[in-house]
Structures are given as C-alpha cells and as structure tokens.
Subunit: 420 residues, 2 copies
C-alpha cells in the first residue's frame, strides 16, 4: 500500500496557516484579499516546484496538472479551497488542497505514472464570506451561474469579485469548465460531530443532504405591552410559541437523518414592551433523501396552513432556497470505500450536511468526498482542530481512491505502471 | 354642571399639533429639540395670556398657576406632557396639558374662584425617546432620581439632558419638587383597546399595573445546521420552543388581568444555517396586583429552573426592572368617579398598563388619572386618533374632579365661590 509523507503534509499545512494566521491560532484568508493572494502564490510556487503545469481560469480557480500516460484522456481532479472565513481555522478547505498536493508529491517520490493526468484544484471563494453566494466559482464551473453574474457580485465595500480577481492577479485566461473530468475527489474536515463521536478516522461520503430554506412571516398587530389585554392581542410571538414546537416535531418524525434549524427570529419592532407587529422565522430543513425532504416540506406547509389566522395572526411561508439531495457517483464512493479497506482505517458512510464545491462538480463529473473528524465538530472557528493521524489517514484514502480510478478498466489506458 | 368649551380645546390641540407636525398627520416634538422649545413657548404664551403665573423648575417642568382663595394652601395639580415620540401622534400627553388649560380657561370664563390654587404642569421628557429613562423629570420631582443623574443623561449624539435644557432656555431656577400638592390629576389617552371595545367615553383609572422585566438567556453550542445531527445539538432555540408556551401559560393562569409579552428574541450569531449558540428572550410581565405579580415571577423562575440543562442548554434569568403596582388615592379616584356621574358620561374603572408621570407623582401627592379611548388602541404612532366628543368628556370629568377636591372638606377653605 502506497502512503503519503504525513510529516511533510503537516508542515505544509502549518506553513500555509501562517498566511493570514490569527493570534487565536486560526486563519483569516478571505477570498481575493491580499492574504488569499499570498496563499495562492505560495501554492502555485509549490506546484511549480514539483513539476506541475499550473493554469488559472477566468474565475481564478487554479489547476495544477501532473501528466499521465494518456494526456488526451480526461483527468482525475482532486482538491478543495484555500480561502477561509474571517475567523476561520487552519484546515477547512486547505486540508483538501494540501492533501491533494501530498498525493502528487507521493506519486513523484515513487515515480508512479498514472493512466490519466491528475489535476489538483483550488476553487475561488468557496466560503462566500466576502462575496455571496458561497461556492460561486465551482458554480460557474458546473453551469449554475454565468461568469458575468459571478464577476458582478460585490462585497460590503462595493468592490466586485471580477475587479478583485484582477487586482490580485488571478483572473486567468482558461475558460471555466471547458474540459471533462474522469472523476473528482474532495477531502474535507467533517465540520460535524459524527466521526469523532463514533471514533472513526474517515467518512465515506455517499452524498449531500437536500436543503430547503424558508422565511416564515407571522403578521399580527403591533401594540403596547401594558394597555393591551391578552384577549385583544394579535401577537405573532404567541403564535410562534405554538408553531415552534410543531416545526421541531418535523425533525422527530423523520429521525435519525432529518435536521431542523431555526437560526433566528426577527421581531418588528423588536422592543421589550411592545407586542411585535410581525415576526420572520428563518427555517432550514435538511434530509439526504429527496422524498423524505418533500414530506418534511409538506408537513411544514401543513402546520403553517393549520395555524393561519389563530390569534388573528396571518402566516406566510416563502421558500427562499432549495438544494436537492446529491447522491455521489457509486464508482467514486466505491473507490473511497475500497481505499479505506486498503488503508485499514476505521471508516463510516456519512452524508454531508454542509455544502461543498464537490456538490457543484458532481453535476458535471463522477464525484465523491472523503471526510476526516474535527475536534468537537467545530469549524468556521479559530479553534478548529484535527489530529495529524486523521489527516494522514484521509490523505492515504484520497491517494488510494485516485489510484483505483486511474487503474479502473473504464479507461482503456487504465493501468498503473511504476517507473521505479 | 360646568362644562368646557370643546371647540376651543380642539382648536388648541390642532394648533399645537402643527409644531413638529408630520406629513402623515402625526407629531415629531421630541424632548428638548427646537420643536419642543417652540411647543413650550406657545404653551407659556397661552398661559400668560389667561393671567397665569408661569414658573419653570430646574428640570424644565413648566408650572402655570391660577391663584385660589388661599394661596398658601397646597395647589391642585393637573397636566401631562408636551413632548412626543419621533413618530408620535397629536394627543399622547398634549391632550392632558391642553385639557388642563381648558379647565383653567373655563374657570376664568365663569369667574369661578377655587379654594386652593390650581397648577397646570407640563413635564419634561415623558417619552424617553431621546433621553432615557422615560418620565425622568417627574422621577426627579418624586425623588426617584437625583438632578445630577438626570442632567448627565445623554442622547445618541452624546448631548446631555442638562445641556439641552440650557440650550432651549428651559433650565429654570425653581427647585424640583419643592412644594406639596393637595391632589393631582392627569388626563391621557388610554393607549389600549379596552374603552373603545366596551364603548366607554372615560376610564376611571384606579391604579397602574406592576411591571417586571427579564432577560432570559439560553446558552448552548453554536454549530452548523447541516453536519450536526439533532441528537448532538445543544440548541437554545429548541429549548425556547419548549419554554415559550409555558411563559405564555403564565398569562392564562392569571387572567383576565395578567399580561405577558415577549418583544424580541435575539439569537447569536443569528444566521439561518447556524444553530444559535445563545438566545436572549425579552420578557415583560404585568399585573395590577402585587401579590399576583409575585406569583407570576415565581412561576417564571420555576419554569426556567425546571428546564435548565435540557438539551444541555443552560438557562439564566435576570430581572432587569421591577416597577410595583400603584394604587391611586381613593379620594382622587372617587372624585373622578363622581365627576363621571355629574357629567353623565359612560365610564369604566380601568388599570393603566403603561407608565405615566402620574405614577411618579402618586408617590408624593394624592393622585389619579382619567383616560379617554383612542382609535384601535393605537398610540406612539402618527395615526393616533381620538373623537372630539371623548376629548370633551375627558376634559369635563377633569374639570369636575378638580372642583370636587377644591370643595372637599379636607381643606378648611374648601369652598367654591363664584364671582359672577
């Protein structure tokens, strides 16, 4: 079994973490800032140092290519993203990029040639912390968004994504999403508590949960808290007190996989001694199975319909986003599963709850992901932490999954030959 | 029965409403602004025109005195406030001041002399819209606050109340709260729906509800909505969904007078796809009876204690304000009740849900209030509206309540004699 150099991987992770490193041990390397540029420059230099050809596309996505035996054949893509949240950690995204780099370096060390080329990618603006929406560059890659739309996105200071790409020197010439890929893999931290709780080193990611977002608006009548008897009130918060338990009840109905989150409730005018005139309740429903998610949606609509008019409060439910569940390509999931067996690491099938660039890429190429645990499930946080041994396990699984695809008989030239 | 001149009262209300008048038909005459100064100047001129002596105290409270037969005896005080909310109405406060003015003018018209002097007051900064807390000037008058405390209060631009009093020329020389009063009456719009719903013209206000304000903080663990299964969550919003119905249940237990208001719920970080790390729930409990309010407080504490630790979420309840119930002096309440009978207006005993300057004054002098209905219970709103006939009924009741106290045998000189 071929294995990566774990110390080298860890050293590179720590070196990259210094760019935008914070006093709390985290990273602030927000998309298209000078820190992002510096991180990209370091990455590009490393890629050139190991003999890769580096191309940058019109969205600033960086592709470092290690040639294969048949360079006309579609490449295998690995990678993730280098940008971070403003108070992000050292591993979210960057682990997938640098573990991918370690895969290429390991292949070099052992002078292994692969049937098809391997491309290591770093996607622009995965986090969406500065330019909304998140995963916009892989979204252009997969055809969700046009290039013009992406370029016109602005940050809070009104600077455009296109302008900032130009400014940091990463608006490339390569057309976005112009070539096909044989398969793609993204290694990432789980950003959740499951693997750690179940003491598994690797998650075999079979897909991504479907997500439905709603604004539930309850409209009553604003009135003073003092002079207004309860029986005269049209109090949306009182109605919310009846709706909330029912909404969380949806999660109970569809356990263990259903997830229901209410991130905030906005009350207008939001004054202590005023009965609110209206409320907006932000609801997030998730499930890996499209049919179950549709049932959850239907249950929510039923609750809202049922309680409309109670306390003379009007309910209105608006769906603001719907991202259907994604099932990753079985060929890629199998490759990851086999790799965990080859590497003899403790593993568990898992569905991603968060969005990733891989969700976009899955639309245009066979794709899957590999997770490793992070401490307390914590990410988007300077305290984000992983074990070095898990990083090594994850990188080894990535390496061996790539080797399996490179040797699979779906590609006629699919053999691994060692020059050693 | 002596009655006021209703058209004259209404004309003065409409004339005063032009100072700070808004395009929506409301008033913006916020405390110690130029508009407040202009309103005060008009009021002072009117008072001088009808022969009153006008004094301004150190808090800018204006006292217009109509002499009685015994000018060494404590005066009867009537009045309210001229300042408004930024988007206030034409009647909140100003009705009580100008109806009081109409009382004095009516006494003049009929050349009625009263046993004791009558002082018409306009309190500074009742609304608290610019300088917090509300009712600060009557609070200094009744000894709740020191003058230095009041002077040092700042608005959002950092200007002090003391400095602004000076600037508009209303920092007077009269010591605040230096003399006793025989009785005080405040006529005010109800700011609630009860009188209108029950088709009564006048509310005989027997007291003011007690109020307890709380911050209920629920502290769990912030986590991503996607990757975190329900069973691992420490979700304060999920706990809120259990607590809210119980908190509103307190209102049900102590109907018909108990009031429970939750004006807002602040979620941190307040992002749709993040399970909040903590919530602050603003709770307002009210009841006219101190013992019942104590039971409501005890019930709330019991709920919070009972649910502490559920979903591994910690509960913490902080009482941020407590204003005990006020029972108005029976002598003054009786005078109002008798006046409603003399005037033959439909009336109902009512407890004020909102705070008023009268609540402060009740600590240092026999006090009660008179309410009249406002349309839809709406106030602190440019749409605030009353019927002219109700304003006239209210002013007549005020006039006749004053006459009763002025003729009561508690004051040895208490006779009404007409010079006519």
């Amino acid at each position: 079994m071929l294995t990566v150099d774990g110390d080298r991987l860890w050293e590179r992770l720590m070196e990259m973490a210094q760019i935008g490193g914070t006093s709390q041990g985290g990273v602030c390397r927000v998309a298209l800032t000078n820190e992002d540029r510096d991180g990209r420059n370091l990455f590009v230099r490393w890629c050139a140092d190991i003999g890769c050809t580096v191309e940058v596309d019109q969205m600033g996505n960086i592709f470092a290519r290690r040639p294969g035996e048949n360079n006309d054949a579609p490449a295998i893509m690995i990678g993730s993203h280098l940008d971070s949240q403003p108070t992000g950690g050292k591993f979210d995204g960057v682990l997938g990029v640098l573990a991918g780099f370690e895969v290429l370096e390991t292949l070099n060390d052992h002078a292994i040639s692969t049937s098809v080329p391997i491309e290591l990618v770093s996607w622009t603006n995965e986090e969406g912390a500065r330019f909304s929406p998140a995963m916009i560059a892989s979204g252009v890659f997969s055809g969700n968004f046009t290039l013009d739309y992406a370029y016109s996105r602005t940050d809070k200071q009104g600077r455009t994504l296109g302008g900032e790409l130009d400014r940091i020197g990463y608006k490339g010439a390569l057309k976005v999403g112009d070539r096909p890929y044989r398969a793609t893999f993204e290694l990432h931290i789980e950003q959740g508590p499951i693997l750690e709780a179940e003491q598994k080193s690797v998650g075999i990611v079979t897909g991504v949960q479907g997500i439905r977002w709603y604004d539930l608006t309850l409209t009553g009548q604003e009135t003073h808290a003092g002079p207004s008897p309860m029986r005269y009130r049209r109090d949306p918060m009182m109605l919310a007190s009846k709706i909330l338990p029912l909404v969380y009840g949806i999660a109970e109905t569809y356990q263990p996989e259903a997830r229901v989150t209410i991130g905030y409730i906005d009350a207008m005018p939001g004054v202590r001694n005023t009965v609110p005139g209206s409320l907006t309740i932000a609801i997030d429903l998730r499930h890996p199975d499209a049919e179950t998610l549709a049932n959850m949606d239907s249950d929510l609509k039923g609750i809202v319909r049922e309680l409309n008019g109670e306390h003379e409060v009007a309910t209105e439910l608006e769906e603001v986003w719907h991202s259907p569940p994604v099932k990753f390509a079985s060929e890629c999931v199998d490759a990851v599963r086999n790799a965990t067996e080859i590497c003899q690491v403790s593993a568990k099938e898992i569905v991603s709850g968060a969005g990733h660039d891989a969700v976009n890429i899955a639309k245009v190429a066979p794709t899957s992901m590999i997770f490793i645990p992070c401490k307390d499930g914590l990410s988007h946080n300077e305290q984000e932490s992983i074990k070095q041994e898990d990083a090594i396990h994850g990188a080894n699984v990535l390496l061996n999954a790539v080797l399996q695809i490179a040797s699979s008989n779906k590609v006629s030239e699919g053999i691994i030959s060692s020059n050693a």
